[in-house]
């Protein structure tokens, strides 16, 4: 089955070292992984295990110290700053623990921020509809709850129809109910847009909604498991 899936990302011997000499810290220590088109990947692992660094590097926010990161046949590790910016602009959607919405723009305008510079975006209303916020288009971030703000962030990330959706602890700052709504939104866009999705979490129960679960420990891949079946969010217990 794996043979039929097309790899979007090919990561080979990826290393990330902070500092030099005795104080050098290996955040990533030889990671090899492929990400397949349309799959939902959950990254688990304790703090400092390297999962955020990994996500930042494949999202073009950071660079590895050595190793290869290939996206659709293109070497990301060889791109310059402008190249990385173009890569992010055209292919990647990000969602962070803190929503990072622009407070001076309404929900719809926050999404428009992206659609204005994207090649083939969906209308902001449609993106917000996907996350269940079609009624909140003209609200400013200050007028939205945390869960709603995070869903706007998701809508903003997916409005450009990204090939990759990267989420770093998207439910970390939310209670379980709103966290569930956010996860449902991620699940929906993954299914409907077919974007390759990687979600970092501390919460192991979330893992059962994924196609594959990757465990990080000390900068290495400790375990990769495949779920035969993705369980609906409603069945997850927190």
């Amino acid at each position: 089955m794996t043979g039929l899936r097309r790899a979007v990302f090919q990561i080979k011997a990826l290393q990330k070292v902070y500092g030099t000499g005795a104080v050098a810290v290996r955040a990533l220590d030889g990671v090899d992984l492929e990400l397949y088109r349309g799959e939902l990947l959950v990254l688990l692992g304790p703090s400092g295990s390297g999962k955020s660094t990994f996500l930042n590097i494949i999202g073009g926010l950071d660079r590895g110290t050595s190793g290869e990161v290939i996206f659709e046949g293109e070497r990301l590790d060889e791109l310059d700053e402008a190249g990385l910016t173009r890569f992010r602009r055209e292919h990647v959607g990000f969602v962070f623990q803190f929503y990072n919405l622009i407070p001076s723009l309404t929900a719809a305008e926050n999404v428009a921020l992206v659609t204005e510079i994207a090649k083939d975006p969906m209308p902001p209303e449609e993106a917000l509809g996907l996350v269940g916020l079609e009624q909140r288009l003209d609200h400013f971030p200050a007028q939205l709850s945390g869960g709603e703000q995070q869903r706007v962030a998701i809508a903003r990330a997916i409005a450009k129809r990204p090939d990759v959706l990267l989420c770093d602890e998207p439910t970390g700052a939310l209670d379980s109910k709103t966290g569930g709504q956010v996860l449902r939104a991620i699940d929906t866009v993954n299914r409907e847009l077919g974007a390759t999705t990687a979600v970092i979490t501390h919460n192991a129960t979330i893992a059962s909604m994924a196609d594959r679960v990757v465990r990080f420990a000390d900068g290495r891949l400790a375990e990769v498991t495949e779920n035969t079946e993705r369980r609906p969010i409603e069945e997850l217990t927190w």
Partner: protein, 784 residues
């Protein structure tokens, strides 16, 4: 060191660039203020000390001739302390190698060489020996300008005879701190010199043996000059007394006073603005820096630090960030004040300087600076301390932009919308930045305005009103024949007569020494112009007064004024005011030359002649004129214009240069700090945009576009403020000597605008570099 102490040290080190920027602005504001106040106080103290040490007289009077015994009678007048009689004269000097005419003021030195009053301070060489008739002392400025040293010689035309004078020394005098020729606008050291020579020599030349024609005196403590002037005038009237006047009207003192007054006005406005801008900037910058510490404050409180301990920590931080600027400003200000005072001392020719700093301004500076910093910091700390620790540690809820959705109707792209909403959402912050930049524009414009005003003044008074090439002063008013004689000299194209009449204007209790200029209605070489440069024709009868004089005498058109003539038969005239004109220079009064003759019951006799001369023949004409015994002096108009420019370039341009420098620093400080803080406050927001795929340039647009927009708003506002300020200062500077035309040239607007734009671009560049290097991942990790 406590952990909090370490935090303090580390954070100060991290914020060193910003502390430096704050220090520069604070220091500039303080330094300008301290410099202006210090130089002013020092200049006044120096003058007072100079006057006292060299016994500058308090009442002065000129007369035709009085026997020496009259001085005894003067000493008897109640209130008189000491009396000095002298022989003084004006003469045409001939300096070898200098082809232009030079006016000399000849002053007698007592036979024993020791003057009681107005003592010359010997700067080089020695005093003339009393037995020698040809040894002289020169005023230092004149000697320097003409490069004359002890051992050199020059010639003087003493009442028709050419005499060789040997220079034996140079001197300074409290009486000629400001050595200005009668009727001139500014000192012209090369063309006007003070010459001291032993009294017997001068008395012999002017037939004043055993007599004097000049008297000055000092008063007993607490005696008003007027109490002595009245009996003195009565006593001297039979001897051709020209009316005694107090020190306040003494030419050098009067000009010096005006100069100090101008400095006071300028010091009262511009440095105050500087200090205000600096204080204001300090206040907002510190406030915003502390506001970003909100989370740290929450953490400290969570660990059990008291509000007071947290407050004290930030008071220390604020003080440490402010002190470098304060110290730098005070030290720099004192240093600059010394430099400026020395500069003025050089210009005014004081033999020494006394540096004085009044405690008032220094205390004010410290209170304002620390007050601005602490109040800015305190407000932010108070806001943070009021929150529960848990609340403070959470990132602040996003600022609410509710009610600003309408801006979307402008149909802007989202980045531009962000700029606009941010501005409208924080109007106070935006207006602070705008005001700071506008203040810089205003200061630049106001400084530049002085230079514009001087040019406008020169154009109006010296180029449009006076169009002659040479002005000739006669020893005595002569018959109109002199006019025809000069007109017949080869190279002279036109001659016009004028008469200077020394008078005293009296209107009730108001008495004012002055002169009336008699002119002809057809005069073309010297015209009376109003403020709009329209010629005013002198009427057959009555006086035309400059507005400054009319205001001083409290008379208007149609009023009758008493005019006591101080020469000839000394009649008292009742003349009506036929008109009042706005002039920029002096307190002039004009009347018809024929009307004047009629009032004096004389034939029309000019005391001055204005000449239009063929430029190629000018030198020869001057040579011929100087050979004529009836001519006391010749002045070139172009020389007057040049020295006017030169003098103002020396005093004003230096001061103005300082202001321009500081205004530029102020602009850089305002723009840099505003952009820099905006960058730290919005780092996360801007990093998010980078994550979304915005390029550095696009993100830079949002941050710097806002600064650019603020700058663009500030420019016209600053131009408006500056024009108003220039007008205000012009009015404040209005004096008897001159009124400053409130002119700001288009070039000055361009200049002020460009300086501010360049300063803004430089700061934008610095901030832009920071933005360029911003690490997206780090910026996202730091919570707001």
């Amino acid at each position: 060191m406590t952990a909090l102490g370490t935090k303090l040290r580390r954070e100060l080190w991290q914020m060193r660039a910003q502390t430096l920027a704050i220090a520069l602005v604070t220091a500039s504001g303080i330094a300008v203020f301290v410099m202006a106040m210090g130089a002013l106080a020092s200049l006044e103290a120096t003058r007072t000390a100079f006057y006292e040490r060299y016994r500058f007289a308090e009442v002065f009077v000129g007369l035709t001739r009085a026997p020496e015994r009259v001085a005894e009678a003067v000493r008897e007048i109640p209130g008189v302390q000491a009396v000095e009689t002298r022989v003084v004269a004006t003469a045409d000097l001939d300096v070898p190698g200098f082809e232009e005419p030079v006016l000399g003021r000849l002053m007698s030195l007592p036979a024993d060489g020791v003057a009681d009053l107005n003592v010359p301070h010997l700067r080089s060489g020695r005093l003339p020996e009393s037995g020698r008739l040809d040894e002289v002392l020169l005023s230092e400025a004149f000697a320097a300008a003409q490069n004359l040293r002890p051992g050199d010689h020059l010639f003087a035309n003493l009442d028709g005879t050419r005499r060789r004078l040997e220079v034996v020394g140079t001197a300074l005098s409290p009486e000629y701190v400001y050595a200005i020729a009668p009727g001139a606008l500014v000192p012209d050291d090369a063309r006007y010199g003070i010459v001291w020579l032993p009294r017997p020599a001068l008395a012999a030349a002017f037939d004043l043996d055993g007599a004097f024609n000049d008297l000055s005196l000092t008063l007993l403590r607490g005696v008003e000059p007027q109490a002595v002037i009245d009996p003195l005038d009565r006593l001297l009237a039979p001897y051709g007394g020209q009316g005694a006047y107090p020190r306040a009207d003494q030419l050098s003192h009067f000009f010096l006073d005006e100069e100090i007054e101008q400095l006071r006005v300028i010091a009262g406005v511009l440095p105050v603005i500087f200090l205000a801008v600096a204080a204001f900037l300090l206040n907002t910058v510190i406030g915003r820096l502390v506001a970003m510490e909100r989370e740290a404050i929450g953490v400290l409180k969570a660990f059990g630090y008291s509000d007071a301990a947290v407050g004290w920590h930030y008071v220390q931080l604020v003080l440490l960030m402010t002190l470098p600027g304060l110290v730098l400003g005070l030290v720099g200000g004192v240093w600059l004040a010394r430099a400026l005072t020395e500069l003025y001392a050089q210009f005014f020719r004081f033999p020494f300087i006394q540096l004085v700093f009044e405690p008032g301004p220094l205390i004010l500076v410290m209170v304002v600076t620390l007050g601005a910093a602490l109040s800015g910091g305190a407000a932010a700390v108070r806001r943070a301390v009021r929150l529960t620790p848990a609340e403070a540690m959470r990132p602040p809820t996003p600022p609410n932009y509710r009610g600003l959705a309408w801006l979307a109707r402008l149909r802007l792209d989202q980045p531009s919308l962000m700029i606009f909403r941010h501005l409208v959402r924080f109007p106070l912050r935006a207006s602070f930045s705008v005001l700071g930049i506008a203040a810089a524009v205003a200061i630049l414009l106001t400084s530049q305005h002085f230079l514009d005003a001087v040019e406008a003044l020169i154009e109006h008074e010296l180029e449009l009103a006076r169009r002659y090439d040479l002005a000739v002063t006669l020893f005595e008013p002569r018959h109109a024949r002199a006019e025809t004689e000069l007109a017949n000299l080869p190279g002279v194209l036109a001659v016009e007569p004028a008469r200077q009449l020394a008078v005293r204007f009296v209107n009730g209790p108001i008495r004012e020494r002055g002169s009336v200029t008699g002119v002809t209605p057809e005069a073309r070489l010297e015209r009376i112009l109003d403020a709009d440069a329209r010629p005013v024709i002198v009427p057959e009868a009555g006086l035309i007064l400059s507005r400054a004089l009319a205001t001083k005498l409290r008379v208007g058109r149609g009023d009758v004024l008493t005019v006591e003539v101080m020469e000839g038969r000394r009649p008292t005239l009742e003349l009506h005011v036929a008109g009042v004109v706005e002039t920029y220079l002096g307190t002039a009064a004009f009347m018809h030359l024929d009307g004047m003759a009629e009032a004096l019951r004389e034939a029309p006799r000019p005391s001055e002649l204005r000449l239009l001369v063929d430029p190629l023949a000018e030198r020869e004409v001057i040579e011929r004129l100087r050979q004529r015994p009836e001519i006391a002096g010749v002045t070139r108009r172009q020389a007057a214009i040049d020295s006017f420019r030169e003098t103002l370039a020396e005093t004003m341009a230096i001061t103005v240069g300082f202001y321009i420098l500081f205004a530029s620093l102020c602009t850089i400080g305002v723009v840099y700090n505003a952009a820099r803080i905006s960058l730290s406050e919005r780092a996360r927001e801007l990093a998010s945009l980078r994550v979304l795929g915005f390029s550095r340039a696009e993100v830079g647009y949002i941050l710097l576009g806002e600064m650019l927009l603020l700058t663009l708003i500030a420019l016209p506002l600053g131009a408006l403020l500056g024009t108003g300020l220039a007008r205000f200062i012009s009015e404040s500077l209005e004096s008897e000597l001159f009124r400053i035309p409130p002119v700001v040239e288009p070039a000055s607007y361009a200049f002020a605008t460009s300086i501010v734009l360049v300063a803004a671009c430089l700061s934008a560049l610095v901030v832009g570099r920071r933005l360029w290097r911003m690490n997206i991942v780090d910026a996202l990790k730091t919570r707001e």
